[in-house]
Symmetry: C2
């Protein structure tokens, strides 16, 4: 950020009075421009014993597989966003089930919220940002071609939970080089 | 937003190619300025059978009571943010417990994430944005002076859960005039 989005004058990075963190502050109109993390919302879409994955037609991780997910938009709920992303990336209609995972990725200022979801019909196909959509059984999951640590981690927990017969809620932090489960991880609750 | 934060030229609200929503796009450098919801992170801070509330010294809802909560900052996790807000508003040290509630407030582009937390000692006092900090038993909660629907709603669920002897995870959407529980509400899991 170099210029004020309100008046167009230059901004300076400084700690405003009463604040404790540096912010971009306009030298002319004194607007303080806060910057905050963004939410990525998506879901694990289930059809019988398979789940829906999308092969990415965009960077980052072009060609790799992911669950449907993307940035939450203003004016929608987290569930609305997860449904919209699934429709955009896979043209798939779903019913949202309980929240399954929350991952913090502080070094890129993102929080992932992933729901479980039920695919309503088999009439899905790749959207504009997707090369290929397909249903995978656990034995066929392309573990070495998954796009993101969040996806790999979530699916690992998902199949562990499925074997145990109940789905927990998983929370963790993804750091640059490693993944830490939170001390606050909750017990599975079915 | 009227000006580009990258180059200072005027922006125009339009749907970029391949997108489906209007964005502020710079007429000169063509930067697309996305705007996304913000997260408010906070907690229900427990000390034996009482919880810590803060009376607000700032607008909105000056003079009303709330749980410690505020906007999540870049570079932190949701738990970090909840701990920082509790320290800033009540100078209180806590241990974060499981996630307790998620509320969508789509008309103001906010998502609340509230954790349960354990107060570590009684050495708390009001921060700069707080008039008063106090521990309340259920019988003393100032229900008619609570600052926000999220707080009222979360505390209602909290005391219901406590009577049942197990804490669930609560998810809902707060609309302009009413509060809807999500169909995805999960069962309590202790």
């Amino acid at each position: 950020m170099k210029f004020c989005s309100n008046c167009g004058h230059a901004v300076t990075l400084k700690i405003p009075p009463g604040d404790s963190l540096p912010r971009y502050v306009c030298d002319a109109c004194h607007t303080i421009h806060y910057q905050n993390p963004r939410m990525v919302v998506g879901c694990i879409v289930e059809w019988e014993d398979r789940i829906l994955l999308c092969r990415r037609a965009i960077e980052p991780r072009y060609g790799c597989w992911t669950v449907p997910a993307g940035f939450m938009e203003n004016g929608e709920t987290t569930q609305d966003g997860a449904m919209r992303e699934t429709l955009e990336e896979a043209n798939a209609r779903i019913e949202i089930l309980p929240l399954y995972a929350l991952y913090n990725i502080p070094h890129i200022n993102q929080v992932y919220l992933l729901y479980r979801a039920r695919l309503l019909d088999l009439d899905f196909r790749p959207g504009a940002e997707t090369l290929e959509t397909s249903l995978f059984a656990e034995s066929g999951i392309p573990w070495n071609e998954l796009a993101f640590a969040t996806v790999r981690n979530t699916l690992t927990h998902y199949y562990q939970d499925r074997r145990l017969g109940h789905y927990g809620f998983h929370s963790g932090t993804i750091e640059r080089l490693r993944i830490s489960p939170d001390t606050t991880r909750r017990n599975p609750d079915g």
